[in-house]
């Protein structure tokens, strides 16, 4: 691009516009494919069971029914599940903070055994989850934490994936800013809270969303730990809808839709306020 030449600039800008259209078009085509299953799920939630099984299938519900959603709350205890799910999600944000701290510790300090410890953290990510399920259960059982909210959230606090993510991105933060803050006499903890965390906003946003989704969809563990239906989560409730013989698809779709919509709303907000137009100045 030659900004000095106005002719060239004009043709370049129309070229840019063409490129923009092409990219937009490509994204649209694949985007439609991405949301077809999703749209189908949402629409099916409003169909009757008979209509879902109809051949040929209908896309748009012939008769809109809220019956499926109604049944979720009358025949099942979805209100309780919702409250529990929100609680678990809330608690898991404590874990988010711990992960950020650890990521910072690994990224910006040199101390004895750092690399080995970090490898250890990484290694835990590679453990197939089923291996540790029963041992973890037995450990919690031995300290009487089964059937408690703490027992449900505690093992999920630390995510090696999260620590890894924080470390990768915090490593890229400039040391100069940290040094300058230290020269001002700030403690390491103040530095973390007031400088590092705000600078890590994009990655915190990513992590917050992941944490939320993890908490929101948590399934097998709450079921295993809870000996009381009062501690069930939405995912467990959704699993309850799956019968031994045959399945009521309409009801399942309603349950699934009910679970996805809040995440969708959250994501729309989160990405609007946090990721959009965010610009870290001063990254090396």
């Amino acid at each position: 691009m030659q900004p000095s030449n106005s002719n060239a600039a004009r043709s370049a800008s129309s070229g840019v516009r063409l490129q923009q259209w092409l990219v937009g078009l490509t994204l649209t085509v694949f985007g439609v494919a991405m949301i077809v299953p999703f749209v189908w799920m949402m629409l099916s939630a409003f169909k009757t069971e008979g209509e879902i099984k109809q051949i040929p299938p209908t896309l748009w519900p012939e008769t809109f029914t809220f019956d499926n959603f109604h049944r979720l709350f009358t025949e099942m205890d979805f209100t309780t599940y919702l409250v529990n799910t929100l609680l678990i999600t809330l608690f898991s944000f404590v874990g988010l903070l711990l992960n950020a701290m650890a990521g910072f510790g690994f990224a910006k300090y040199r101390f004895k055994g750092r690399d080995k410890l970090f490898l250890l953290v990484l290694a835990t990510m590679m453990i197939p989850g089923q291996v540790t399920m029963i041992p973890v259960y037995l450990i919690l059982n031995s300290v009487n934490l089964t059937n408690t909210m703490i027992g449900i959230v505690l093992p999920g606090f630390i995510s090696a994936f999260g620590i890894f993510l924080f470390r990768q991105f915090m490593s890229a933060l400039p040391d100069e800013i940290m040094e300058a803050t230290r020269l001002d006499g700030a403690s390491e903890y103040k530095l973390f809270l007031q400088i590092i965390l705000p600078m890590s906003k994009p990655i915190l946003a990513v992590q917050a969303i992941l944490t939320f989704i993890g908490g929101w969809n948590s399934f097998l563990w709450p079921l295993i730990i809870a000996n009381d239906e009062k501690l069930y989560t939405l995912s467990v409730g959704l699993q309850l809808l799956k019968g031994q013989h045959g399945t009521n698809y309409a009801l399942q779709m309603a349950g699934a839709a009910f679970m996805v919509v809040p995440i969708m709303i959250l994501f729309v907000f989160a990405q609007k306020h946090i990721i959009e137009n965010y610009n870290i100045s001063g990254i090396k």
Binding site: M133, N147, I224, L240
Partner: protein
């Protein structure tokens, strides 16, 4: 969270380790006890309703019900066994009985049964009692029964000359061939090759023993013949392999698949989902070779071995075993009673389809009661897939399967 549930949680957390299996033993010091019940399935509501009736009769026993999703019930039971903390009363699918009985997770009730007239073995279908026996002990009480029967479209079968359901293997094969000959995309019968009991059920009808004295009998001609018989249906296209249609779709309309073998739950499904074929379908007991023994499934009620409230648990089980309670349960859930007495009630005996189920139940056996059965039957599905899908040599496959099964039995 409300205050009461907090205190319950706290009580369990603090005392759980001391009082194994306890769920709040002495709530208010009045001597009341609380039974904890795990029910499989989609909702705890029907069981809560039964429990409320029970507490009305026995005011000192409270019942707390927890629904366990079918898909994850096994995982959940494993952890209960590992921690020895579980419910007092536990609903258990018949196929899991041997596994959990051999692990000592469910209590031996042999000496307790005689104390409760409701639990006398004569009250129940013979096959259901079989499923409660393990190592000569009684480890459960039959609760729900189901068995496989034949569903068929009367109008479509009439069109190929069958005024009533095929009664023998030969007739079934013949009818299927004629139905398939109706045209493109037409089939005779829906047989689910992924259904783990299908082959074993047919093999038994052919006189096969499956397992005898802990020796696998899957190489015997009686077994091989049955497998080959079923294979014919898939090879000749009488039974669809990958149709991908729900039964309610293929059975309705013109009757693309006008026969299928399945359990009694399909009766309600057909009535609800394809009402337009009302009067054009019926059920029948299975066609016979040497016999027409069906496979028996369902659930038993068991007492968790680590409970300290065995008597109260049995009291509750006895309550649920009363014919009128079983009928009430059927009304709430559509699941069928294991007590024979309940089947004399007009609700069941006057219904043509239910009468068929009741008759077949008299001639139905659970799958062999060995703890490796689940594993063996899953392995067989893979073996059978090699035969009907990949056209592998039947005898070779069965030989390998037999050896593999024997290894599991010897473990």
């Amino acid at each position: 969270m409300r205050k009461r549930s907090v205190s319950t949680v706290a009580a369990v957390a603090v005392f759980g380790g001391l009082l194994a299996g306890c769920s709040g033993g002495n709530d208010s010091g009045s001597g009341d006890i609380t039974l904890s019940v795990w029910a499989m399935g989609d909702s705890s509501k029907p069981m809560e309703q039964m429990a409320a009736d029970f507490t009305k009769e026995n005011p000192t026993i409270k019942v707390k019900v927890q629904a366990i999703p079918w898909g994850s019930a096994h995982d959940k039971l494993l952890t209960a066994v590992a921690s020895k903390k579980g419910p007092d009363v536990l609903q258990m699918g018949t196929t899991w009985m041997p596994e959990f009985a051999s692990a000592g997770a469910i209590a031996d009730l042999t000496n307790d049964i005689p104390n409760y007239p409701e639990l006398a073995p004569d009250n129940f279908f013979k096959g259901t009692i079989t499923s409660t026996q393990f190592d000569g002990k009684t480890v459960g009480v039959p609760w729900l029964a189901e068995t496989r029967i034949l569903f068929y479209r009367t109008d479509v079968l009439k069109s190929v000359g069958y005024d009533k359901a095929p009664a023998t293997w030969d007739e079934l094969l013949d009818a299927s061939a004629k139905l398939t000959a109706r045209g493109k995309d037409q089939y005779g019968i829906g047989l689910d090759p992924k259904e783990p009991t299908l082959n074993f059920m047919f093999a038994r009808q052919n006189g096969a023993k499956l397992i005898e004295n802990n020796k696998a009998q899957f190489e015997e001609p009686a077994f091989a013949e049955a497998v080959s018989y079923l294979d014919t249906y898939f090879k000749k296209g009488y039974a669809p392999v990958d149709l991908g249609l729900d039964t309610s779709q293929s059975f309705g309309g013109e009757g693309m698949v006008p026969m299928f073998i399945s359990g009694p739950w399909m009766i309600k499904t057909i009535k609800d989902q394809i009402p337009d074929i009302e009067g054009k379908w019926a059920t029948a007991v299975l066609p016979s070779k040497e016999n027409n023994m069906s496979s028996l499934g369902g659930s038993n009620l068991t007492v968790f071995n680590y409970t300290e409230q065995k008597d109260a648990a049995l009291k509750f089980i006895a309550f649920l075993s009363k014919p009128e309670k079983q009928l009430e349960w059927m009304k709430l859930t559509g699941e069928l009673p294991a007590t024979m007495k309940a089947w004399e009630d007009p609700q069941l005996s006057d219904d043509a389809n239910m009468a068929v189920v009741g008759e077949q139940l008299k001639n139905a056996e659970p799958m062999p009661l060995v703890k490796a059965w689940d594993n063996i039957s899953q392995n067989f599905l893979k073996t059978f897939e090699q035969i009907y899908r990949a056209d592998a040599d039947l005898n070779e496959q069965l030989k390998a399967f037999n050896a593999q099964s024997q290894q599991l039995l010897d473990k």
